[in-house]
């Protein structure tokens, strides 16, 4: 559970510094972490958090995140523009 509490601190810190690109990749990491543990609920929560930051930052992870959320039936007809 150590890596996840480290992630938690990092996310809070990045948020405070308004480093949204970093926030996005940290959420993505958190989502991966839970996905690997087969906790799909938690994973989709964090993919969603990563998604909005990716949209705002026009982050390269955007397509990957959408793909994951659609795969788990959490996003429908995602439009990007």
């Amino acid at each position: 559970m150590d890596d996840i509490s480290k992630l938690d601190t990092d996310i809070t810190e990045a948020f405070q510094k308004k480093q949204m690109k970093k926030v996005c990749s940290l959420y993505f990491e958190a989502a991966n972490y839970f996905e690997n543990k087969s906790d799909i609920e938690a994973a989709c929560f964090f993919y969603t958090q990563a998604l909005v930051m990716a949209l705002e930052e026009n982050h390269d992870l955007k397509e990957k995140i959408i793909h994951k959320l659609e795969k788990y039936g959490r996003n429908q007809d995602t439009t990007l523009n």
């Binding site: 609920e41 993919y47 930051m53 949209l55 705002e56 996003n75 523009n81």
Partner: protein, 396 residues
Amino acid sequence: MSELTIEQQFNNNKPIPFKKELEKAILNIEKANGIPNQYYIDQKCMDLEKKIIFDKNWVAIGFTKDLNEPGSVKPITFLNTPYLVIRSKEDSKIRVFQNVCPHRGMKLIQEPTILKGAIRCPYHSWCYSQTGKNCATPHIGGPGINFHKDISKEDLNLIEVKSFIWRGVIFVNLDGKAKNFEQVNESILKRWELFDQPIFNDNSESSFNLTVNGNWKLAVENYLEAYHLPWIHPGLNSYSKLEDHENIVNYGHYSGQISHKYKASYSTAKNFKNFKNLTSEWDSKGEYIVLFPNLILGAQKDHLFNLIIEPIATGQIKESIEIYYSDPEMLNENFKSTRLENANLWKTVFEEDIFVVEGMQKGRYAKGFDGGKFSPVMDLPTHVFHDWYARKLLEA
């Protein structure tokens, strides 16, 4: 003045208070009185004016020079309505939206910025593309579920406001029911079609703001007339005399002044490049027009200016002025002091006018003042404005 108090005027189920007085503003100029006092000093009249004059017509709210880069977005609040103006990266077009999130009504954009991607609402992070389409509703169906069967994304787009760009000015029609800008303003567009060419603004020396403690209409009225030149602008009058002026009168549309003695001369001995393909009459001509309700315009061979009047309160306005040149070279360092001199010249003129605008505002508290009489010769452009304004109210 009517015997009824302002409360009675609004209470008697009268849609338009001081109707009888307003009807006098649309009489022939010899018989006409100006718009009644209350329309300059009373908040209720201002609220009504917002609905009828500002929400239903094309109104100038800002300048495109703040949005040169694709992705740039700027919040503008005009008469309490929050707008966001954005140049989309997708098609480079400028659009205007109401600056509000369709979810719980949060103001979306707080500061001018350049967006990398979507607009993300700072409250619950719903996202919008730069063309205003909703592109994410995080957790709307519960944690990690980003849709809901009963909510259609199409209903969650930003509220677009009908807008038009002309001469670097962003116009909006808030109620969306006005005829197209080109239709409404056909005559001025035609009049100045020669100036339909690229214009350049330095964003520093050539931009300035003034705050004036007067009603917005008084700033319009004062700009429309040359009558006051010999006393209020003795300097201006020395090279642009009263007798060199001619009224521009176009009832129902716009009015202003022509100066037949425009001379561009600066102490730096430098001249700005003229706009291309102008006819010879423009060698010595300047035209000074108000596009109703709130845009003051100036056109001369070597520079243009736009002044947006923003009503802040019944007795307060903000004036934002931008001066434009014909060629990017005019924005170079070696023209800097000439640009500054030119801006200062106009600033002096507008500052000299503050005293009379504020003085007329104070005069509007005199109960015996009936809106005033007009000189049938000198005050025609002012009457054009009063006629336009009163008709808008009376026809509403």
